[in-house]
């Protein structure tokens, strides 16, 4: 019975993926891509990887979908007359994508040697970190350098988005297009949902130590709440030169880095936690990261500065 469900799910994912590729309108392709992401997160749940499922739904489907929809709205004015795409480019892209997929599939299906699983040794020493969720343990104890760089990349990407602004507008205000008219229903939504959403976001970060969840998922929920309030016109979009905003963007990575450097002096290793203090330090890192991730994701959606702003 379970395998019938799984096979159906896999066929559905493949079909929706193909549909998203072949859809003629950019807008429909993106809507199908969002559905594709949600189906993928179902597949992750079936594989018992709930952490990945949450991230896929929040980031892969939610935030990425919103970014792509934003891009379509911006392109609408320029691509009134659709230019026929060059078939040589399409073929090249198709060939490279097939190559990547084929090599990944080859590695997974026919590994060069029997892969060594580190899972048992992770579970054995997980207790030392004070964490109950092995995913959080791997992210913040064994692969903390990767996790740190991942957060830095988010900030670098935002700098790239901001760099799209002309010189004169650097530090200006992003022109998030709020809803055309002040819509009473949207305002009602933006007044009632954020208290619940903020609580859910903080809960997801907090529970991440022992259950699926964590800074990324919690941060994405917080970002969604902030975007909702800004779109409804209830909160002003902050100018990108705002010191408070910039502090919020980097506080997570900076605290992470500082604790990492502290590790050099206390234990002799970069990013190592002094014995007995692992749990509180990880919570401090995760808490500040949640704030930074939330603010960074929201500013990605809001886009580059487009209006001049003087204090």
């Amino acid at each position: 019975m379970a395998s019938v469900f799984d096979v159906t799910l896999v066929c559905l994912i493949l079909a929706v993926g193909a549909w998203s590729t072949f859809a003629r309108l950019t807008f429909s392709a993106i809507v199908i891509f969002i559905v594709y992401g949600l189906l993928l997160s179902l597949a992750w749940v079936r594989l018992a990887a709930v952490d990945v499922a949450l991230t896929e739904a929040a980031i892969g489907s939610g935030v990425t979908g919103m970014l792509l929809l934003n891009a379509v709205a911006r392109l609408r004015s320029t691509d009134a007359a659709p230019t026929p795409s060059r078939s040589s480019v399409n073929i090249a892209a198709g060939v490279f994508c097939t190559l990547i997929t084929a090599s990944l599939a080859g590695l997974v299906l026919v590994p060069p040697q029997v892969p060594v699983s580190l899972a048992p040794s992770v579970m054995e020493s997980l207790g030392q970190s004070g964490l109950g969720n092995p995913v959080a343990g791997v992210l913040f104890v064994y692969r903390s350098l990767d996790t740190l760089l991942e957060k830095v990349v988010l900030v670098l990407a935002l700098i790239a988005v901001w760099s799209l602004a002309p010189d004169g507008l650097w530090g200006g205000k992003p022109a998030l297009r709020p809803f055309p008219q002040r819509d009473s229903v949207l305002i009602f939504l933006a007044r009632t949902v954020p208290p619940i959403g903020i609580m859910v976001g903080i809960y997801m970060f907090w529970v991440g130590a022992d259950e699926p969840g964590g800074a990324f998922q919690g941060g994405a929920v917080l970002a969604a709440m902030w975007i909702l309030v800004m779109i409804a016109g209830l909160a002003a979009v902050p100018p990108t030169s705002s010191h408070a905003l910039r502090l919020a963007l980097i506080v997570g990575p900076v605290v992470f880095l500082a604790i990492g450097i502290l590790g050099i002096f206390l234990t002799g290793t970069f990013l190592a936690y002094p014995e007995g203090y692992a749990k509180p330090l990880i919570i401090a890192i995760e808490a500040t990261l949640t704030v930074s991730i939330g603010v960074t994701l929201a500013m990605h959606v809001v886009g580059p500065p487009e209006k001049e702003w003087r204090s």
Partner: protein, 97 residues
């Protein structure tokens, strides 16, 4: 007792799924945005409601059951509001055209 609860779950979820199928059919067959919204809202309310209702005995704990009900309430709430928003923008576009 478990047998009765299992039968109840199967019955409620089946009826809930039936509503989803009907709504999918209506979504494909109905002519315009407003009638399609009409079909979809029925699913949000009744279909999901029945599925959640049917899953309550399987939740395992009172907290789990409460979480299920919270999910249903949130979907109800956001569904109603998003429907309003889409309907309003459909009407605005209709007036402009």
């Amino acid at each position: 007792m478990t047998l009765i609860l299992d039968v109840f779950t199967i019955a409620a979820v089946t009826v809930g799924v039936f509503f989803f199928v009907i709504a999918a059919l209506a979504f494909l067959r109905f002519p315009d945005g407003l009638t399609r919204l009409h079909a979809l809202t029925k699913v949000d309310n009744v279909g999901l409601g029945l599925i959640v209702f049917g899953l309550l005995p399987q939740a395992g704990s009172v907290m789990g059951a409460l979480k299920l009900i919270c999910v249903w309430l949130l979907v109800q709430f956001s569904g109603a509001i998003v429907t309003q928003l889409i309907a309003r923008s459909t009407r605005r576009e209709g007036q402009e055209a």
